[in-house]
């Protein structure tokens, strides 16, 4: 386990940062609208 952490720490750090961004975005009330807008296709979409 320690070997993995030492060898792959950049990837672990990246996962932590990505998680942090996702967690932050999830809490942000703007995300509800972003998600709504993202899920709602426009008239040009199939």
């Amino acid at each position: 386990m320690l070997y993995d952490i030492l060898m792959f720490w950049p990837f672990l750090l990246l996962a932590l940062v990505v998680g942090l961004v996702v967690g932050w975005w999830y809490q942000d009330p703007r995300s509800a609208d972003d998600m709504t807008a993202w899920l709602e296709p426009g008239p040009d979409d199939p």
Binding site: M1, D4, I5, F8, F11, L12, L13, A15, L16, V17, V18, G19, L20, V21, V22, G23, W24, W25, Y26, Q27, D28, P29, R30, A32, D33, T36, A37, L39, E40, P41, G42, P43, D44
Partner: protein
């Protein structure tokens, strides 16, 4: 080898989840602190930047203008021949005119007074259209005993122009279109919804509890009176900024500013 591989991915997953929890906690902690305003400003800046990038690549939302064209009706002669400040707006886009049409004159009684009836004594004909399958599901009575009731709708927007319902947080293109189909075009209509009507619409849109959570009724009440809820979609923010730039540079040629593409 396989176990080693799984171990690495497990570690990555654990770090991701830890990051999610940390991010959520950090957001809440900062939102409760004196840095909340800065937090909002940074979020807006990032959002604007992302929108600009999307616009550059032509993947921004362009549906709003098309949608308005599809539901808008020609203004009656009386409206088009008016004079005064409203008349000065005729050359501008629908986006800029619509909210003002909802605002009552300064000394007038607010439009939002008819709880349970969105159109009061205006003489408008109730509208009964909509998707039959959705209507059927909307009328399902849930366990809490609230009997859904269809809110009064109108066949066409008043004065030929619908309100920009997407100014309400939680309403995007699809929900706005669905609301228009059941005769809801104006903030004043939404502001007059009763809990039973909210339940009906929530079930019709297949958007359970979202209306209550986002307080569409409260938002609509503010917007119907010409107020500002503080919520503005990034596209609207950008449009307003562009309009301000046009006005600062003497734009008054009666053409609509380009919408985001």
């Amino acid at each position: 080898m396989i176990i080693h591989f799984l171990e690495i991915w497990l570690l990555v997953a654990v770090m991701f989840v830890a990051g999610c929890l940390l991010g959520a906690w950090l957001y809440g902690a900062i939102a409760d602190s004196r840095f909340a305003l800065a937090q909002g400003a940074v979020a807006d800046t990032i959002g604007d930047g992302l929108d600009r990038v999307k616009s550059t690549f032509g993947i921004g939302p362009a549906w709003r203008a098309e949608h308005l064209k599809s539901v808008a009706r020609p203004l009656p002669a009386a409206a088009t021949s008016q004079s005064g400040p409203e008349a000065d707006d005729r050359g501008r886009s629908h986006f800029d005119r619509v909210p003002r049409l909802s605002a009552p004159p300064a000394n007038d009684t607010p439009a939002v007074v008819h709880r349970g009836s969105s159109f009061g004594d205006t003489g408008e004909t109730p509208f009964e259209g909509g998707d039959p399958a959705r209507i059927e599901s909307a009328e399902t009575v849930s366990d809490d005993g609230i009997v859904p009731r269809r809110p009064p709708g109108i066949a066409a927007p008043r004065s030929g122009l619908p309100d920009n319902l997407t100014r309400i947080r939680g309403i995007g293109y699809r929900n706005e279109t669905a609301l228009n189909k059941v005769g809801v075009f104006h903030f004043s209509q939404i502001a007059a919804w009763t809990p039973a009507e909210v339940r009906w619409i929530g079930q019709y849109l297949a958007f359970p509890e979202r209306i209550e959570r986002d307080d569409w009724v409260g938002q609509a009440a503010v917007l119907a009176l010409g107020g500002d809820t503080g919520f503005e979609k990034a596209a609207d923010r950008r449009r307003r900024r562009r309009q301000a730039q046009h006005e600062a540079t003497g734009w008054n040629d009666g053409e609509e500013p380009d919408d985001e593409q």
